[in-house]
Assembly symmetry: C2
Homo-oligomer: 327 residues x 2
């Protein structure tokens, strides 16, 4: 049994706990938190909750540490730090900063003879894999990634910072006609506005200026100004009843041409429809924790991504069973 | 430039030729045929067509030999035979016989310090990958593979062997309501009949007994008796005009549950819509030929499948570029 520890017990930490429970070859051995451990109640009996200050004492008692934190400020610090003590895995998802995160984690892991895996989840993660597979198979083509319908935490946070907003949730929605145009193989050029719309549900504070809020949302640079955005004001009751979920999903589609005269068109489509974004993300993390241990057992160290992992390493089945039953 | 040779110049061989043309890091150096080379005209200028009797003399002039043959009788002989002379890759697709094919090819390749890759294409191939990824991520779930709408060569051949049939084409069609039931996450148990229908277009010989032909098709054991089959008799003109293509495709869908009480459902779907089955299959073969050479350069020998290949090895991009632009 691989010994798994969790650092950080929020939505992602709880998702890892659930996913480890489904893994026949893994056991949860510890949950580390920056909070007072007495205030953190986990769902797995008999597993200690410990303050991060105790982590170093656990470095020989954990096979993989799954680091559950935010990409903005947590992971750039935590993953390199703990890669020098543990084999680690994270879900770092700031695409533009992956090269620098990789470099920091790679240096730390190599120095400690550990393996580290970053940016594991669905985007980056399963969507990245599908982009690379499809680009490699159909070099004469074009790919498109669509997200949603799903909750964007970053955009929801941005709306909540507007004066007069009590609570808010933002959904990113793919435009159906754009999806259809892509699937047709016509390889359209699509602007940001043509690919996705944004749908916002706002609970306003009593007496707040709703016209001001709506305008502040729709004109917010980077977050909303390039999109067609719909703002709905709703009651707190409706918000809590209908908008507390964390569903998400999306599509990676590549179309390409083959033949001596590029006369044949092919469409490769990968899609996800997820009831719980954090639980799916952590299900991917746990499968890659298994793979990380196999790569380490084969002598590999340093930082890896999903692109470096042979698919067979993710499975609990033997290579023989995979060839006989899944190939 | 990796030096690629083709063995066998039918639909697959022609597809490899097209795919190599799109690969900036590969060049076609020879086409080997069992026929008289003078009767084989290829589309790439300056590349020699040679009889298979000359292959041994080329063993140090080829980096990967792509073996294009049928799975029933060609590949079980050819792939082990040439794995002792070349790095090889094939599209062996008799799922039930993969373990024995693997064993024969593995022994030959290891003995000659070569790498061999078998069962590359889309099923087995990309569909296998997607089954393994999805099963590993969502262990509490169920997956389904649907094929079509597309031409089944084996079934078309079987119909052509019936007395009075001049020509025939069989399409395998997924049942839309079954696809929808699967996508709903209800994890239905589906019989063979519920998943696919078969659609047959027949050109009958003059004076043939059409009722006999239709009955012979619909009751044919293994091929048709477990399916709802529609038989259409058409003219030779209509057949040649509308049924000469080799389109295919299909779907791999897994739904699974996460959460402490399995309260969340997720749907992972991978689908292909292909104008040309052989050209897509060979596009996959050529990408895996690139990967095979990288694995060989890393010291790996013996038989491999798509499940053993790190996705990054398929790409012409460097690891740095992949992390910066595709992850």
């Amino acid at each position: 049994m691989a010994k798994i520890a969790i650092l950080g017990y929020g939505n992602l930490g709880r998702g890892v706990e659930c996913a480890v429970k489904q893994a026949p070859d893994m056991e949860l051995v510890a949950v580390f938190t920056r909070r007072d451990p007495l205030t953190v109640k986990i769902q797995t009996a008999g597993v200690p909750v410990l303050n991060v200050s105790e982590m170093e004492a656990w470095k020989d008692k954990v096979d993989v540490l799954i680091i559950c934190g935010g990409s903005a400020t947590d992971l750039p610090v935590l993953t390199p730090k703990y890669a020098s003590m543990f084999n680690v895995i994270d879900s770092f998802d700031t695409h533009a900063k992956i090269p620098q995160h990789f470099a920091a984690v790679d240096a730390a892991a190599k120095g400690a003879n550990k393996i580290a895996m970053i940016s594991v989840g669905w985007d980056p993660g399963m969507f990245s894999l599908n982009r690379v597979y499809a680009q490699s198979i159909l070099p004469e083509g074009k790919d498109y990634t669509f997200w949603g319908k799903g909750v964007s935490q970053g955009h929801s946070d941005a709306v909540r910072r507007i004066k007069g907003v009590k609570n808010a949730k933002q959904y990113t929605c793919p435009v159906e006609s754009a999806l259809e145009a892509v699937r047709s193989g016509s390889m359209p050029e699509l602007t940001t506005r043509q690919k996705h719309t944004r749908l916002v549900y706002v609970v306003a504070e009593e007496g707040a200026d709703k016209a001001y809020i709506e305008n502040a949302i729709k004109t917010m640079p980077n977050y909303f100004d390039e999109y067609d955005t719909t703002v709905n004001f709703i009651s707190e009751e409706e918000f809590n009843k209908n908008h507390s979920g964390l569903a998400h999903g999306g599509f990676v589609i590549r179309t390409g041409k083959t033949g001596m005269n590029k006369e044949h068109t092919h469409v490769i489509e990968y899609s996800l429809k997820l009831d719980s974004n954090p639980e799916f993300t952590t299900s991917v993390l746990v499968a890659y924790a298994r793979a990380a241990l196999r790569m380490k057992a084969n002598g590999q160290t340093g930082c890896k991504t999903v692109l470096d992992v042979p698919p067979a390493y993710l499975s609990t089945l033997s290579d023989e069973d995979l060839r006989a039953h899944c190939l």
